[in-house]
Symmetry: C2
C-alpha cells in the first residue's frame, strides 16, 4: 500500500514541531519553506539592535530535520493550493512545480499590517525576517554615524530620534534595547555627539504598554522604560509616517529611524484556500485545527484563528504554534494508525514574558507575576533553552554574559549596502 | 601651539595598527573608513563557506579605538587627495566634505583584479568584503538546494560543480572548505542528491598550488586537496567565464558557482596622489614608507610597493601591513618629539600559513616547515589570537571546536535575497 503524503508549509515554530513529531511516522512528510533556515523570532529584535548575529538565532531546516529519514525539505515559495487536485503549487522561481498531498498542514505565520497604509512600510519597516533586522540595524547604526558627521544641531536631533510604533512585547523590547545601545554600548564611541542625547519614543495607541499583560506588569514595564530614558506616548495613534518623521496624534516628531511593531496580519494561507477569514486574515479552524469541510487540511499558528478557553482567539505566540504543531502530529499519527482522533486541541498557557533591558523584564505565569531582575533571568533562561542547537545556545549565552559584564554589544556591523 | 593633524585612510590591518600606536600621541588623529568595522580578512573565506558569521570576524572600528581619546573615526568613502591644500576629500555621500591633514597615512588595501576581464566579476565574484562572502555563501548553498529540486541529471551536475580560480592561500582554503561542506557538513541533509557528488575544481595558471610556499609544502597541500576530492588543474589558465561555467584552457566546465581568487590590484590611492604606480597599481615608497618628494604622505599595506631584503616587493599580507602601520606610528611620534627618524622599515617575516581543511594545513617558518595536524593547530591558534576582541576569539574557538567535534558547520544561512 502506498504511504500517505503529508505536506507541511512553513518551518516556523508550528510547522517544525509538527515535522519533528512526525519523524519516523509511516508517511512521507514534505516540509516547504521559502527560507533554508528556521528563525527564532523572539530574539530577532536583538539582531536589529546589534546584540546578536543572524546565525545565532537561525538554524538550517535540513540540519534540524536531518535525522528524520521520512521528512523531506523543499526550499520554495508556495503560490497556492488546489483543494480539488490536492496539490501545493510553488511560484515561478520553482517553475510552478506542484507538490501533491494527502494531508496538508499550513503553518505560514504572519506579516506586518499597516492598517491600510502600506506606503508606510518603506519608512517604518517591521521586524519579521532576518533581512528586516539587519536593515533596521543598518539604519540605527548609520543614524549615529551621520549625526557624528553632521554640523547642524537640528539634523543631529532628527538623526538621533528613534520612534518605535506599537508597545507590544516587540515594541517594548526594541525601544528598550535601542535606549541601551545609545546609553551603554555606544557611550564612549563618538567624539562629536553624545549618543545619550538620543531620543527614543515609544508610541502606543492603546491605554498602556504591553496590553496583553496584567496592568501591574504594564506599569512596571512603563517605569522601567522611563528609567531607560524612553519617552512613552500612550493613547495617541500614529496618523502619518514619512521619511522625515512621524505624526503622533497632531504632533510631528522628526525622526530618521522608525520601527513598526504595531500590528500583524495572517499570511496568505486563507487566500490560497479561498475560505472566509477573520479581521486580520486568519482562518477559523475547528477544534481539531482542520478547515471546516476539509478534514485533510490543518491550519496552525499565526495563520489560524482558534478560540481559547475564554472564547477569544488564541494570541500569535510561539508556544501556541508549537503546541498546535505537536497536536496536529498526534491527530495525523492517530489517522495513520486507524485509531480514534485525540480530544480537541487545548492551549496550555505556561506564561508570557517580555524584556525591557538590563536586569529588567516582566513575566506573567497567572499564578505568579514577576518583574525586575528575577523576571529578566527567567526570560534569558527560557529563551536560550528554546533556541535550537547547542552551539547557538552556548554562543548566545556567552554573548549575553559578555555584553552584560562589559556593557558592550556584539554585532554592530553596517552591512548590506556597502559602497564599493 | 596647534596640534598636528594626522589622517589615516583605511582601518584594515595597516591603518588600525598605526592608529593604535598613535593613541595618546600629542596629535589629533582621524581614521577614515568606508565601513564601520575592521574586517579580519584571513577568515573571510569561512564566512563564504558557512563556517563563521560576519560579526565573528568583524569589530566596530569605534569600539576598537574607543580608549584613544585623541583618535576620531569618520565613516566615509574617500574620493581623492589634494596634495597642495593637504586635504582628503570624501565622496558625495558625505557632500564632498574635506578633511585637512598635516601628515597622511594611506592604508586603503587592494581589490580583485580580473586582468582586463572585469565582465567576469558578476559571474566569478571575489572575496574581499563581507557582502562578497555572504553572497558567495548564498550561491553555494542555493546551488545544493536547486540541485535537490532539479530532476535533470545534467542540471544537477552543473549545479553541483564549483570552480575556484587561483590556488593561492584564499583559493586553496575556499576549495578545501567547499569540499568539506559537501562531504561532511551537508552529507545527511538531502534526500534526492548526495552532496558528496559535488565536483570542486581548483584552477591555477601556475605550475603548483600555493606558489609562494616552498615546493615541498605545495606538494603537501596538493595531496591534501586531492584527499578532499578537490580536482586540481595546474598550468591551465582560465580563458573565459560566463554564468554557465568556465573555460579552462580549451575545456568548458559547466558550473553554477565560480569563485575568483586569482589576483588583486592595489586600491585607488596611487590614482589619488597622481604618482607613478607599479604593474598592479601599488605606490612605490621610500625606506621610510613615504611617497618620494612627500615626506608628509605615507603609503602602507597592499597599496604600497616596498622592496624586501631580496629586492622583491613585499607580499600583500596582514603581518606586512601591521608592521608597516606600527613603523609609521614610530616615525610620526619621532617627528612629533623632534627626535631623529627611526632606521628604515624592515619586514620581519614570522612565517606564513595556509589551511586546507580538517587537521590539514601548511606552515612555513623558514627554519621550520610543517604540514598536517600540527600545522593546522598552529594555524588555528595564530588566527584566533590575532582576532580582535575576546568575545570574537572565544566564540570563534567555540565554533571551531563545535564544528570539529560534530562535523557540522555554523552559519548556513541563505540571506540577502529573500522572497517576500
Amino acid at each position: 500500500m502506498v504511504r500517505p503524503r503529508i505536506v507541511i508549509v512553513g518551518a516556523g515554530f508550528g510547522g517544525l514541531s509538527a515535522a519533528h513529531a512526525l519523524g519516523g511516522a509511516d508517511a512521507d512528510v514534505t516540509v516547504i519553506d521559502r527560507r533554508n533556515y528556521h528563525l527564532f523570532q523572539p530574539l530577532l529584535y536583538q539582531v536589529a539592535t546589534a546584540g546578536l548575529s543572524p546565525a545565532q538565532i537561525a538554524s538550517p531546516i535540513r540540519a534540524i530535520l536531518r535525522r528524520a529519514a521520512n521528512v523531506r525539505v523543499v526550499l520554495g515559495k508556495v503560490s497556492g493550493v488546489n483543494r480539488e487536485r490536492r496539490v501545493v503549487r510553488l511560484d515561478d522561481r520553482s517553475e510552478g512545480r506542484e507538490i501533491p498531498y494527502d494531508q496538508l498542514v499550513l503553518a505560514t505565520g504572519s506579516r506586518h499590517a499597516y492598517f491600510g497604509h502600506d506606503e508606510w512600510e518603506s519608512v517604518a519597516p517591521g521586524l519579521k525576517k532576518i533581512d528586516d533586522a539587519t536593515s533596521i540595524r543598518r539604519r540605527i547604526l548609520t543614524a549615529f554615524e551621520q549625526a557624528e558627521a553632521s554640523d547642524s544641531a537640528e539634523a543631529r536631533r532628527r538623526l538621533l530620534s528613534f520612534v518605535v510604533i506599537g508597545a507590544g512585547p516587540t515594541g517594548v523590547e526594541m525601544a528598550g534595547s535601542i535606549a541601551e545601545l545609545a546609553h551603554v554600548a555606544l557611550r564612549h564611541d563618538f567624539r562629536t555627539i553624545d549618543p545619550r542625547d538620543a531620543r527614543i519614543v515609544l508610541v502606543e495607541a492603546g491605554a498602556r504598554v504591553l496590553p496583553a499583560f496584567p496592568p501591574a506588569l504594564s506599569d512596571a514595564a512603563h517605569k522601567a522604560l522611563e528609567r531607560l530614558h524612553v519617552e512613552v506616548r500612550l493613547g495617541t495613534p500614529v496618523t502619518h509616517c514619512d521619511d522625515g518623521g512621524v505624526t503622533i496624534g497632531s504632533e510631528y516628531v522628526p525622526a530618521e529611524t522608525i520601527v513598526w511593531a504595531a500590528g500583524v496580519a495572517a499570511s496568505a494561507a486563507g487566500h490560497w484556500l479561498g475560505v472566509e477569514k477573520d479581521r486580520i486574515g486568519r482562518v477559523p479552524v475547528g477544534p481539531d485545527l482542520t478547515v471546516p469541510g476539509h478534514p485533510e487540511i490543518f491550519v496552525i499558528g499565526d495563520t489560524a484563528s482558534v478560540a481559547g478557553v475564554d472564547g477569544q482567539p488564541l494570541p500569535g505566540l510561539a508556544p501556541v504554534a508549537k503546541q498546535q504543531g505537536a497536536y496536529v502530529a498526534r491527530v495525523l499519527r492517530a489517522r495513520l494508525a486507524g485509531k480514534p482522533a485525540p480530544p480537541p486541541f487545548r492551549y496550555r498557557d505556561f506564561g508570557t514574558m517580555a524584556t525591557i533591558g538590563r536586569r529588567s523584564a516582566v513575566a506573567d505565569f497567572g499564578w505568579l507575576r514577576l518583574d525586575g531582575t528575577l523576571a529578566w533571568l527567567m526570560w534569558g533562561l527560557v529563551h536560550v533553552s528554546f533556541l535550537i542547537g547547542f552551539r547557538n545556545r552556548a554562543i548566545v549565552m556567552l554573548d549575553w554574559i559578555w555584553s552584560y559584564v562589559t556593557f558592550q554589544s556584539g554585532a554592530r556591523l553596517i552591512t548590506g549596502s556597502e559602497p564599493d
